[in-house]
Structures are given as C-alpha cells and as structure tokens.
C-alpha cells in the first residue's frame, strides 16, 4: 500500500520535474540558437558589412604602407589578427573590474603589451619580415581597429563572443591586406608570394609565382599613391556588389494609404 501511495504521490512530482526540464531544454535550445545567430552576425559584420579595412576605413596607415607584397601584407595581417583576438579576450575577461573612467588607458596598456609580445616573437622567428615591416609592427598599438573593437564590443560582452569578434574582425582586415598586397604585387613586380620564405621558413621559397614577366617595375603600384588608388577601386567594387545584391532582393511593397479628399467647396 505504502509503495502504491508513494507512487501516486510521486507521479505528479515527476511530471512537474519533466515540465521544468523541458522548459529548461527549450530555453537552452533557444539560447543556443540565439548564440549561433550572434556568431553568424559577428562573422558577417567582421568579414563584410563592417569590415575594418574597407568599410570602417580604420588602420589605413599600415594598410597602405606595407602592402607592397603579399608576404608583407600577410605578416602584418597575422600580427594584427593575433593582437586583436588576445586583446579582445583580455578586455572582455576583466570588464567587470575596470572602472569606466580609466578604461581607455587600460585598453591601451593591454594592447601595447600584446603588441610587444608579437613583436618580440616575430623578431625571434621571422626576422626578415620583422625588418621589412619596420615601424609598422609596433604601430599596431595605434591601430584604431583594435581599440575600437575593445571599446565597442569586447568591454560589453563575454569572453567567447569577444574573442570570436576579434577573430572575425582580424580576418576581415587581413583579407583586405592580402587582396591589396596581391593586386599591388602583380601590378608592380608581376609576382605573387615574393619573399614568402621570410615569413614561413625556407620551404616557402617554392610558393613564389611569376604571373607576368615585366621588363620594368610599375613603380606607381609599389609606392603609397598606388595603394590609395587600388584601395579606392576595392571599395568601389565592394559598394557595387552591395548595390547589386540589393537590387536582386525582392522589393517590399510599401503599404499605401489611400485617402479620400474631402472638399467642402465643390
């Protein structure tokens, strides 16, 4: 008897537990979906819609100065990517303990220490690239794209999302650098991946591709003015792709309100 009573008593409890569990599960799946959507949004923002290179136009100084070859562009792009991910993660991890009034100096300190780490690492392992990047490697500290992300996103969001945002923004920036480097290297010297062994070690010497044999270098493409012109063309291309996509999308019909004019005179 006892057991049966117990069973009777337990049954509603179990079902209540089940309902709670189900609710929790549903909430979890919803949260996961929301998280997935957020990650997707972050990726789209970083790589295309809000690309630091061609939309925000941040960090133009290294973008224009060192992208004479793909190798240089890749070196700077990777360095910036590393710094961006690490600084975003750190800023996000300490966001509850940073007083609002002095957050900017703290962000700068964090970024500067990561840049120093990257600089020392590149000095040790990729000395050739370290030399050809020159002053633009330590100048990553002043890259507005990095402090912009720290301030706008990382200081308000959890570590995972913040590091993912850093990864996507850094990738977007690096892709623009590589594209610009490729255009300028082909136009200027007719090669691709010239000097890749400086970045990846001796085996990478085989990566060098001679696209066209040029009798003389096209100096304009190698000099900074050429970078400005090429950058303009890339931005124009991006905008024209955007307008093309917009045109392809079906137009939403606006709800028109028809009014009857009431005219007492007539």
């Amino acid at each position: 008897m006892n057991t049966s009573e117990n069973n009777v008593n337990e049954a509603p409890q179990l079902s209540e537990n089940n309902i709670e569990l189900e609710q929790q599960l549903a909430e979890k799946t919803l949260a996961q979906k929301a998280l997935k959507a957020e990650y997707k949004e972050l990726a789209i923002q970083g790589l295309w819609k809000n690309n630091p290179g061609i939309v925000q136009l941040l960090g133009l100084c290294p973008l224009l100065a060192v992208t004479a070859t793909i190798t240089n562009a890749l070196g700077l792009g990777l360095a910036t990517l590393l710094v961006l991910v690490a600084s975003n993660a750190t800023v996000s991890a300490i966001r509850h303990w940073v007083p609002k009034e002095i957050r900017i100096p703290i962000f700068v300190l964090i970024i500067a220490s990561f840049v120093t780490c990257v600089q020392l690492l590149m000095n040790a392992y990729t000395y050739g690239i370290y030399q050809s990047l020159g002053i633009f490697l330590p100048l990553i500290v002043t890259n507005c794209a990095i402090i912009g992300r720290a301030e706008a996103y990382a200081s308000k969001n959890p570590v995972k999302q913040a590091s993912f945002d850093g990864l996507m923004m850094g990738l977007g920036f690096a892709l623009v650098l590589i594209l610009l480097g490729a255009i300028r290297e082909i136009l200027g010297q007719g090669t691709l991946f010239d000097g890749a062994h400086l970045l990846f070690g001796d085996w990478a010497g085989v990566l060098r591709i001679e696209v066209v044999k040029l009798d003389s270098q096209f100096l304009l493409a190698i000099l900074p003015p050429g970078a400005f012109i090429a950058m303009g063309f890339i931005i124009a291309l991006k905008n024209s792709i955007d307008t093309y996509i917009k045109q392809r999308q079906p137009k939403k019909e606006k709800a028109t309100i028809e009014r009857v004019r009431v005219n007492f005179d007539s």
Binding site: S216, F218, L219, L220, A221
Partner: protein, 363 residues
C-alpha cells in the same frame, strides 16, 4: 498679340566644345611640325597610339554610362583626342609603345572619367598621366634622344617605329646607343645637362659650349638646340589661340612673366650658376605648358585675377623645381599643384556681383 520677353543673355556665342577643341588641336600643329623636324617621327607615332587608346577608353567609359545616343557626339567632341595629343607630345620620342598606351588609358579612365567626365576633372588629364608615367617608369621616361642633327645614327620612320615597338632599330641599335654621341657620352636634354653639370661645378658659360646648346640662331646665345624652335612654334600656336580668343591671355602671360622674373633675379645675382631667362623660356615644355596646358578651362582658375595668380604661382613653381628639384623639368608638377589650388584661388578672387558690395557678397 503676345509680347515675347527673353531673359539675358541675348547674344549667344554659337561655339561648341568640339569647335574649340579643334581650334586648339590645329594650333598645336606648328609645334608638332617643329618636333618632327628636330626629333623625328617618334612623337607622331606616340600621338597616334595615344589617340587610338584614348578613344577606345573613352568609348568604354561612355558606354558604361549607358546614354547610347549621345556616345557618338561625346566621343568625338575632341577633348579625348586633345588629351591624347598632349600626352604624345610630352613623351620622349623613342619611349616604348606601352608608355603612351598606359598613359592615355590612365588619363581618360582614371583622371577624367572616374571624376565624372568632361568638365568635372580636378586635374589636367594629360599632365596627371605624364606625372604618373614619370614616377612609375623613370628609365623609359627620361630616355630623351638628342636632336636628329646631332645623332650619328639615321633615325628614319621605320627605324623609329621598330624602336618604339621592339626597343631596337632595324640595324640593331638600342635606345641607349641612339642617345650616345660620337664621343661615347650619353646625351640628355639641355635642362638635364645643365643641372648635372652645375652640380659638378661647371659654370653656365662653360656648359653652353656643349653642342646641345649651340644652335641655328647663333652659337653663343645659349639657346638649347632644337628645343628653342619647338618652343617658338608652340608660342606661335598659342598666340593664334589668344588672337582667336580661345584661351584667356592672363594665364600664359603671367606664367611667362613670373618665370622670367624669377630666373632674371637669379641670373643677375649669379650668372655663373643659373640659366638665363631666355633659356628658361625656350627649353623643356615651357611654351606648351603656358599656352596649352595651364589654360585648360576645366582644371584652371576661372576669374581674371585668379588666372593671373595661378599663372604667377605656376611660373614660380617651375623655376623652383627646375633649379632646386629632383627632376630637370617641372611643368607637369607645377600644373598639378596649381590645379589643386585653383578652387581656393577662385574662392578668394570671386568678382563682385553687379549691384552688390564686395562685403555683402560674402553673406
């Protein structure tokens, strides 16, 4: 009866863009003829190449704008052809063929059409293309040949053509050999020679003993051989333009006066280390720049006072670049810098509106 009231202007000047451009092109002919006489067929071949490229690029850009009815009229309004001719004139006669092709394409596509086409370009397309070529291909763009009469290789039409397209004459001489004189020295332009030798410590008087400077007028006057007639021919063409009122007289006159004053001051202070004002007037692209390039109605200043200021500024810049700059001639750089200042100059030299004070005009 309806009384027809028309607002001013009542008297229309029935000139079109194409008519003006045609006049400017005709005025260039004496100069092109003089260039042909002294430097051979090279420039004419480059002009032909540049015109072909410019028309193709112009057609491409205009067809992108998709007003297909107007294309024919805009394509042959003469502005692209004039730009191409100016580029062809500026180039060294034996420069490779792709120099004029790249130059013309850059001038039309980037400098002219990307900014919105005829009447919207802030820079003179021909000079922007020339500067682009000069900083991109310094070797090819400075391989000036000496006048034909000083060369020991016969540079006829076919020889020039093969040199432009292959880099060698029919007999197999390279561009470097074409530029070498009998003594084995590479001959440069007079301005280049002047600059190098002044840096080496020679005096102007010693430098103009060089046969580049002895000329058909007289050996000791210090003109640059060949270049003086080219410049005089462009001067004649320019005077025709002014007489026909196709260009305003203020820009060229103030440019030439300013260049004369600058070089005259230097020449009277230290005649040993500076070129005479007349040499400044008759070498390089002086007259071409004064009458055909600075007077560009699109990229230059528009008010009378503004034109005077811009011409004077250009003269000063040309003198400074020729004397202290890294390049021997500075017309193109001076023109681009002046084009940049033109909107500002126009802003401050706006003429008084009829019936208003100058002060009330500002508000």
């Amino acid at each position: 009866m309806a009384f027809w009231i028309a607002s001013s202007p009542h008297n229309h000047n029935q000139t079109e863009t194409s008519a003006l451009m045609r006049l400017v092109i005709y005025a260039l002919f004496p100069g092109i003829y003089a260039q042909w006489y002294f430097f051979g067929w090279g420039n004419i071949i480059h002009i032909a190449l540049a015109i072909t490229t410019a028309l193709l690029c112009e057609f491409f850009a205009l067809s992108l704008r998709s007003n297909s009815k107007k294309i024919n009229k805009q394509l042959f309004d003469g502005s692209a052809i004039l730009t191409a001719i100016l580029i062809g004139i500026c180039l060294p006669a034996v420069a490779p063929w792709w120099i004029s092709v790249i130059g013309a394409a850059f001038a039309i596509l980037v400098v002219k059409q990307l900014y919105g086409g005829l009447g919207h370009n802030p820079f003179n397309p021909a000079m922007a293309a020339y500067v682009m070529l000069l900083i991109s291909f310094p070797v090819q763009m400075t391989s000036w040949q000496p006048p034909l009469h000083l060369m020991n290789i016969d540079l006829n039409f076919t020889n020039t053509l093969t040199t432009i397209f292959t880099g060698f004459t029919n007999e197999g001489y390279s561009v470097e050999q074409l530029r070498t004189s009998i003594d084995g020295f590479t001959m440069a332009t007079p301005l280049d020679t002047l600059k190098t030798n002044l840096n080496l410590g020679f005096t102007t008087l010693e430098i103009i003993q060089n046969n580049l400077f002895s000329n058909t007028i007289g050996p000791s006057l210090g003109f640059a051989f060949g270049w003086e007639w080219v410049n005089i021919a462009f001067l004649i063409g320019g005077l025709i333009l002014i007489a026909k009122k196709a260009v305003a007289w203020q820009t060229p006159i103030s440019f030439l006066v300013s260049l004369f004053i600058c070089s005259f001051i230097a020449y009277s202070l230290s005649p040993d280390t500076s070129a005479s004002p007349l040499l400044h007037w008759t070498t390089g692209g002086c007259m071409l720049g004064a009458f055909f390039i600075l007077t560009d109605p699109v990229s230059g200043a528009t008010s009378v006072k503004g034109r005077l200021i811009m011409g004077a500024l250009a003269g000063l810049l040309v003198y400074l670049i020729r004397t202290f700059g890294g390049y021997p001639d500075g017309i193109a750089f001076a023109v681009l810098l002046c084009n940049m200042t033109a909107p500002l100059i126009d802003q401050y030299t706006r003429p008084r509106t009829y019936g208003h004070d100058i002060d009330s005009n500002k508000g």
